[in-house]
Symmetry: C2
Subunit: 332 residues, 2 copies
């Protein structure tokens, strides 16, 4: 069976308590004792029982991470940032994905709370009903939203200036003379969809142009949405000369559709994605997009949650990272 603190105590002659403290490098234990105990523990193959520890200390060193969409590598890249900071700070993460379901999100929060996590990093569904907001408002532990927001809880968010980024994309395309730009939006249940649409509206407004609702279509943000929505738009003969996409996954699907319809990118149609996924530079042609600092987003979210755990009185403050257009082969 497994080794307990008591076994190490018996082996070294110290009390269980001293062993416990030596294992945690408590400064009140002499260096010699600490070394002896830790060496013995290692020799005996001691593995601390984390759940017994958290039960007593009310402190699990575990952060619940609620991701949104396991099919989109955007989230893997954010999570790598979260993990990097977590492991640096001696935290572990417990990770699950809602697949954009508010129900699953609320279930996950319950499960995580039952496991006594110290904090939550979430990419929440954009559901601003009181029920959904209460999920977070009622939380007794710190929480941070990574790359997304919820109405009234914006101060918990680390964002990346979606509105600005999308505005710049559309303005750039307008400047280059495009009169009809197809926009493939994301679903309304993602805050970024709303924010990026607002950026699009800004761009048209700044150019004294009206938004043509026929040129805005909406999908779920997956690769197949980009594919079939582009097909549909082409079939309807809408005469657009550029496509701006809510994200890179959609853009990948759009490129596929254009290719199959013998439309050349960027000669016939220019395409812009959003997110700058790692793989986007390897697409054919390589994708012009908006860079979002994904790793940093995760990293900073973890830093922030730790800061709030260590100082529960620390005020929450919205962070907003700048975005940057990345020009590759899908634009001229």
């Amino acid at each position: 069976m497994s080794i307990l603190l008591k076994d190490i105590a018996n082996a070294t002659g110290f009390s269980t308590n001293t062993v416990s403290r030596a294992m945690r490098n408590d400064s009140k234990i002499s260096e010699a004792t600490t070394e002896l105990i830790q060496a013995t523990a290692k020799k005996m193959g001691y593995i601390p029982n984390t759940i017994a520890s958290s039960m007593r200390s009310n402190y699990s060193k575990m952060i619940g991470v609620i991701s949104a969409d396991s099919a989109n590598t955007f989230f893997s890249e954010v999570i790598r940032g979260i993990e990097a900071m977590a492991s640096k700070a001696g935290y572990h993460i417990i990770l699950a994905s809602t697949e954009e379901s508010a129900k699953k999100e609320s279930d996950l929060i319950r499960v995580f709370l039952g496991r006594k996590i110290d904090g939550i990093i979430a990419m929440p569904v954009f559901d601003n009903s009181p029920n959904h907001l209460d999920l977070y408002r009622n939380l007794e532990i710190p929480y941070i939203f990574a790359g997304r927001r919820l109405d009234g809880l914006e101060n918990h968010s680390i964002l990346h200036n979606d509105r600005n980024g999308q505005r710049k994309v559309i303005e750039h395309l307008i400047e280059k003379g495009h009169k009809k730009i197809l926009y493939i939006a994301g679903p309304k249940k993602i805050s970024n969809s709303t924010d990026r649409l607002a950026g699009l509206a800004d761009a048209y407004a700044n150019n004294s142009m009206d938004v043509d609702p026929d040129l805005i279509v909406e999908g779920l943000g997956h690769i197949e949405d980009g594919y079939y929505l582009t097909n549909q738009a082409l079939n309807r003969g809408m005469g657009f000369t550029a496509i701006a996409c809510f994200n890179d996954m959609i853009a990948m699907g759009a490129l596929k559709s254009l290719y199959e319809n013998n439309l050349h990118v960027p000669q016939d149609i220019e395409v812009f994605g959003y997110d700058n996924l790692y793989m986007s530079q390897f697409m054919q042609p390589s994708l012009s997009t908006v860079d979002v600092p994904k790793f940093r987003l995760g990293y900073v979210a973890m830093e922030s949650i730790i800061a709030h755990i260590q100082d529960p009185k620390l005020a929450y403050e919205t962070k907003d990272f700048p975005t940057r257009l990345v020009f590759r082969e899908t634009t001229r």
Copy 2:
């Protein structure tokens, strides 16, 4: 503060013990009592303290999942299968990725054991040193390898006939008249690399052909490996007319390189991937590959681990799923 069983006991007039049993649908508690208690618990917003429960019962309903590479959606697809079965059976998973580091793998096992998981599903690094094997041999809980294997522990594996699959790819290409096939292998620290290479050797042997070591190059299995290894091979002027890749990620990188070198696929060069990632059908041109039942692999791994938890005496048996060639646009 959070609601405890004791609080529900006070509210209903029953003992803590009865409440505990009613919450778990213990058959010895009357239906009326059970209903009353569960209704009260719901009304009070009770969230069971899972760690207190597992501490006492020695049973966490948590499975540790050790994945290998967060940049490859192969694993996300397997994990979706794992999660589907887990949630169906009332289990939760705690997930982490080794990024193909044996050190990280062993650290993760320790952490997971400390959290008192009931079983492990791993995609282990192909390190057959006694130390690494002991990591698993010494385990007191059930473990299953999903899609990978370790020497001497094959009976813990659920595999997918890599050797056969890769053999069929190479045989197919030979049959179509290719004399020089570039093979971009995966790293030796992944068992699938070894097995797929063996399949390649089988194919050549069956056709009484020698393996040309110059036509086998090795990368880490990421998209950029496919890209730069194809570039290098082209620069060396090796005159191959087909490329078979260890996986789809490599194939994506290879396609990019071929495109940039003005080589047409499949007219000038045919390309085969392996894994049949969801996105591979959306690549341009769409990728011919070998289908691996990823979701099912995860699903069955979870089924299996649960079976072994419920019956610790259950014998371990290697499972081996069939593979299937998928012909798309990168082959003629």
